[in-house]
Subunit: 291 residues, 2 copies
């Protein structure tokens, strides 16, 4: 598969000239983004670029938004339908932890062509004992230090689950390893705020907007674990799964999907079709979230 590094295209990822003093590689000092590509276009392109730029600001270096946008577009055009991952690091630095005064960020992307097989797919979650650390600024960023999610997902799969469910250090609901969590209850659409240690996901943001648009009472609010069991529906979001019903946490079954989740899924498909083209988005089938 091709990769794009600092504006240059390489036919394969395997042996690209790279600086081994890059702080992304040495210290996880960078962020990434995963986006859905349909018909050669990135769904929620501007929101992805906006979040990436904000994350770089938080870390104290500047994203070249123009280069980032062009790189995303090239990777999406090449994949047509699939996903695009964009990675930005602070670039190379001297030995040690202190960043260089004048960072020259590294930016690279790769794609994974294929139909969006995970979209809307139901999931069972394994409650990992690893807590999401809401005291760290990194908890609100998609940083390269992703090992907690890797380890928790591995354990979930070994136990026959699809994803890992994280509490934060206060014992409240945080997220899944690769996405956000929502609760539907009595016409309200609820999800933990960033201060609870969650990423402001792109699909999360879209779902909050769409929830308001379809008349739900929308709130970002801390959630106790019991809120999952009392919910009318629980679902997870990310850019590839879109809205995915959560059937169980551990051995405990949760309320399945419901008509409100179906409406959210349809509204999300509409929004994506408006961005990427109706034909391209026709591979998304919100019927999968039916009760």
């Amino acid at each position: 598969m091709p990769v794009w590094l600092n504006g240059e295209r390489f036919e394969a990822a395997a042996a690209v000239p790279f600086d081994l003093a890059d702080r992304g590689l040495l210290l996880g000092d960078g962020v990434f983004d995963t986006a859905l590509a349909l018909g050669g276009r990135i769904a929620f392109r501007d929101a992805h670029l906006e979040r990436l730029a904000a994350a770089c600001d938080t870390l104290g270096f500047r994203l070249d938004r123009d280069l980032a946008g062009r790189t995303m577009d090239a990777a999406a055009a090449d994949a047509s339908t699939g996903s695009v991952r964009l990675t930005v690091t602070r670039g190379a630095g001297p030995r040690g932890l202190a960043p260089p005064d004048d960072p020259r960020p590294t930016l690279f992307a790769a794609n994974a062509p294929g139909r969006p097989a995970l979209a809307f797919r139901r999931a069972r979650l394994w409650p990992t004992p690893i807590r999401r650390n809401e005291t760290s600024p990194a908890a609100n960023l998609k940083t390269l230090g992703y090992l907690d999610a890797v380890l928790a997902l591995g354990e979930a799969k070994r136990r026959g689950f699809d994803e890992a469910f994280f509490l934060n250090t206060k014992g409240r609901v945080a997220s899944v390893g690769t996405g956000n969590l929502f609760v539907l209850k009595d016409g309200a659409l609820l999800t933990p705020p960033p201060a609870e240690g969650v990423l402001p996901g792109i699909a999360r943001g879209a779902v909050l907007d769409l929830g308001r648009a379809i008349g739900l009472r929308v709130a970002e609010t801390p959630l106790e674990p019991a809120a999952l069991h009392a919910a009318d529906a629980v679902f997870m979001t990310n850019s590839l799964r879109l809205v995915a019903p959560v059937e169980a946490v551990g051995e405990r079954r949760l309320a399945g999907a419901g008509p409100e989740l179906r409406r959210l899924a349809e509204a999300l498909c509409e929004r994506i079709a408006a961005e990427c083209g109706r034909d391209a988005a026709s591979c998304l089938r919100p019927a999968d979230v039916d009760p």
Copy 2:
């Protein structure tokens, strides 16, 4: 500066053929090690290799110890005196979080020649609001996801401090960003156990051994923050700072160094001289820890 990648030497780090699908770069899925080199030899070489192999085991891939040892030795011989950083990742993988079934780890090293300027140097610590997450297996490993330490150190430096002091999520003493913390009190040498969310540092291990050897009562035990203020001496350890007196946490001054810390520092110098040669170790001056 030269680098060594998978057994091959490159004259400079800047443009080495590297796989952009490496999980160390994409997900922080790997570990590293920083060692002191004196006279072309690595201090505590076997302990460094042992810990690195154990960390790879924990992550579920195998360290090529022979290659790791040879790479460390080559980097140390090239530097003569200075530091050597060895990095091991799980290697390249397919898209997504799930690791490959048959990982082929990536191993690379670089050195930084120079006299050990940080050894024994007194430090003032800034209490970061970021907590060390003892619920994560990564808290006991020197993983590539090092952004919390980077951010906390940056903030500490901006505020005029030398390093960041971390509590864990329970509010107990954890460590500094790049090393372990010890308390001396009434003839006892105390440090938090790994379960408190700390790395089993190489210098930490050596100090525990030497503490026993010089007749201190040694214990790995949870420490409340108040224990720092009540201590006869507080010091931090890592492979480059060795034993470094902690003069203050925030605006609060701590007890300075004392005769027991001096004895520990001398014993540590002796041990290093036995491994690296007396001439090579003569640049270490434990007198710096004098009260």
